[in-house]
């Protein structure tokens, strides 16, 4: 098992997630892209833990999962609320918070 391959995979997943966040307008897709980025981070953390032979990276991965779960709860609630008021999930239309 070569850790390098896992890291390359994690980098690819992260790049895909980043591009998704930037080019898509649908809030749900952006949300999924963010999850992809978080999971690529988890993969990298687990890989590093394996490479170094200790548990700290895996521990960090668990934290990320918990935070991601909490984020999903709040984020989905916001998206649903926006959808109810605007009948749309496009992030370009939700632009009231500006000067």
């Amino acid at each position: 098992m070569n850790p390098e391959n896992y890291i390359i995979l994690a980098a690819l997943l992260f790049a895909i997630g980043t591009v998704g966040v930037m080019i898509r307008r649908n809030a749900l897709i952006i949300f999924m892209s963010i999850e992809l980025m978080l999971n690529s981070c988890n993969l990298a953390l687990a890989t590093f833990a394996y490479a170094w032979g200790n548990l700290e990276g895996q521990l960090a991965a668990f934290f990320v999962m918990v935070v991601a779960a909490a984020e999903v709860v709040v984020g989905l609630a916001i998206i649903v609320t926006i959808y109810r008021t605007r009948k749309s999930t496009s992030v370009d239309e939700a632009n009231l918070l500006k000067l």
Partner: protein, 635 residues
């Protein structure tokens, strides 16, 4: 010149330990009247009148005790408490009851009591009567602090206290703009003098480590001539401010805006003589510096002529008397500056002046009372029959001030003129001329007010004033008659423990200088009679008059000089400071605010509401940080 022997003070015992009541009683009364408010409207004036009478009785008891004591037991000091101690200075509050201060206390409380009684009648219909009496009591208390203090710092407290009372009372009718302005003017001009006094006190504290009179007297001979002169000049500046001496004279004439009893008490009999008290009290300093003493003489001489000049030209009866007050205080300063020979005469003239000038001011108040508060003497005339008591008491004051033989001013002023000739012939001639001019303007005042034809306005029905006003007039009139003779042979010996011994011949028989004075006075009277007694007094002041009269009517252009020298330059500086503030300071502050605002206006465009732009910026930032970190490894 060696300083004169003065007496070492002894500690206060017996009745002297009650001396603080002299000050406390009027002060407490003033506080009660001011704090109680309208509750005290009905009886406040009676309480306020009782306060100085109490102080007067106590002062008489103290005076009697001193009279009974041996001369070297007459200087008493009463330490009250420690005010503050800092570094090497230990400033205590204490009273010094000596022959000099007790005479002042008697004058202040005696004349003060009479003026309180007079004010009961004079202010009877004034809605603010209670406040007036509270301020009068405050004045009496402050003035007593001034003369009873045993060190310069406590004296300064009284000095400022009388300044405050003077301000409050000059602008008592503050609804009149002229009165409000006069109060402010007096206050501001007095600050100039106060600066001199504070500088003198600071110098003493720096030189002697104490401002106590006894310490100053003890250490003064060790002063360098320069410092003795400087302290003397500082004290003189202080005296000039309070006593309305040239060049700080301009406030006194405006101070006549105050109620007439105030003019009599504060601006004639007591407060304005504080400068003379200060000079006499500081004689240990002045004796060390011929320059400072001569400066006092010059200031006194100039003021006695300037005041007399103004007195000749005014039609306002109170302003004539104010000019006369300046002039008479000029005589006192002249005497005080002459040195040991003059101290007793300065105080002598101060006391007699306190009687006859208060008498005439109250008389003028009685006339104004009768004439519906008209002060223009051209609207008077032929009042002698209508106001007989006022007339006769006023006549006593008149004879006293011109120095008619036997009356109070005859003794005191002649001594000063003689002493002036002893100092310097030019000064003596000026003093002699001043006596003639005094006779001229006072005769003019008498003729225009009491004699001639009626020039009364319509609806004026003169009547004699009530008893509360005439009784003080009668008592002060008696003082104007007998005051000089009573004090003549006694005051020099009496003041010895305070001012040092200096025998000087005083006799009843006129000396050659005395005869010359009488001749000059007679000339003044005759000239005044020719100009104002023989012919009708014009109803309106004539316009085609000599430049001398024009200058006199304009107070010797004192206001113009002050404006040109002080007010205008100050205004120009202030306007430039405002300009600098508006352009430079405000420009910098407002400019930087505008810059921040403009920058923020540009920056907020970044906040455009597009979530994906935010994501892009965040991404770019992360990439940038990552690049820096990675590239940083190889640098």
């Amino acid at each position: 010149m060696t300083p004169l022997e003065t007496v070492t003070p002894i500690a206060a015992t017996g009745v002297f330990s009650l001396a603080w009541l002299l000050i406390a009683v009027p002060l407490v009364c003033a506080g009660v009247l001011l704090l109680l408010g309208r509750v005290a409207d009905g009886w406040g004036h009676l309480l306020a009148t009782a306060a100085p009478i109490f102080s007067f009785v106590l002062a008489v008891v103290l005076f009697g005790t001193q009279l009974g004591a041996a001369p070297d037991q007459r200087v008493v000091e009463l330490s009250l408490y420690q005010w503050f101690a800092t570094g090497g200075w230990d400033i205590g509050v204490g009273l010094r009851i000596d022959p000099l201060s007790i005479l002042f206390v008697l004058l202040i409380t005696g004349v003060g009591s009479l003026i309180h009684v007079y004010s009961i009648g004079y202010m009877a219909h004034d809605p603010k009567r209670r406040r007036f009496f509270a301020f009068l009591n405050l004045f009496v208390a402050a003035m007593l602090v001034l003369v009873l203090a045993d060190n310069y710092l406590v004296l300064f407290v009284g000095w400022e206290g009388v300044g405050l009372a003077s301000y409050l009372l000059i602008s008592f009718w503050q609804e009149r703009p002229a009165a409000a302005a006069a109060g402010k003017k007096a206050f501001v001009m007095n600050r100039v003098g106060d600066l001199g006094l504070t500088m003198a006190i600071f110098s003493m504290l720096a030189m002697f480590g104490s401002s106590k009179f006894t310490d100053v007297a003890e250490h003064a001979p060790g002063l360098t001539p320069l410092w003795a002169t400087l302290i003397g000049i500082f004290l003189l500046v202080g005296a000039c401010g309070k006593s309305a001496q040239v060049p700080l004279q301009a406030w006194l004439l405006d101070a006549m805006e105050g109620p007439t009893p105030v003019s009599a008490l504060i601006h004639a009999a007591t407060m304005v003589t504080a400068g003379v008290y200060l000079v006499v009290r500081s004689h240990d300093i002045f004796e060390l510096s011929a320059v400072a003493s001569f400066a006092v003489v010059v200031v006194g001489t100039v003021t006695l002529l300037a005041g007399a000049w103004i007195g000749c030209a005014k039609d306002d009866i109170k302003k004539v008397l104010a000019g006369s007050t300046m002039s008479q205080i000029g005589y006192m300063m002249l005497a005080a500056g002459i040195g040991p020979a003059g101290y007793a005469f300065a105080i002598f003239h101060l006391l007699t002046h306190g009687f006859f000038k208060a008498n005439m001011f109250l008389g003028a108040g009685s006339v104004m009372h009768a004439m519906n508060d008209d002060v223009n003497m051209r609207h008077y005339g032929a009042l002698a029959k209508v106001l007989p008591i006022t007339f006769w008491t006023f006549a006593a004051g008149y004879l006293a001030i011109i120095g008619f033989p036997g009356f109070a001013g005859y003794f005191s002023k002649d001594h000063i003129i003689e002493a002036a000739f002893g100092q310097n012939v030019v000064i003596g001639l000026c003093a002699l001329l001043g006596a003639g001019v005094t006779a001229f303007y006072m005769t003019r005042l008498m003729l225009m007010t009491w004699f001639g034809t009626k020039r009364w306005r319509k609806d004026v029905h003169p009547h004699e004033s009530p008893l509360t006003m005439t009784i003080p007039l009668i008592l002060l009139g008696i003082g104007s008659v007998v005051g000089g003779f009573a004090l003549n042979f006694w005051i020099q010996d009496w003041l010895e423990p305070s001012t040092g011994a200096h025998p000087h011949e005083v006799s009843l028989l006129p000396t050659p200088i005395g005869l010359a004075t009488l001749a000059v006075v007679a000339v003044g009277i005759v000239v005044a009679w020719i100009m104002f007694g023989r012919k009708e007094v014009p109803d309106v002041a004539p316009a085609d008059v000599s430049p001398i009269t024009v200058i006199g009517r304009n107070d010797l252009f004192g206001d113009a000089v002050n404006n040109a020298l002080v007010v205008t330059p100050t205004r120009v500086v202030a306007e430039n400071v405002i300009l600098a503030d508006d352009t430079l300071v405000d420009g910098a502050v407002m400019g930087s605010a505008a810059a921040v605002g403009g920058l923020a206006g540009q920056l907020r465009k970044i906040q455009n509401g597009s979530v994906r732009t935010y994501a892009l910026v965040m991404m770019a930032g992360t990439v940038l940080v990552g690049l820096v970190l990675i590239l940083g490894q190889w640098v």
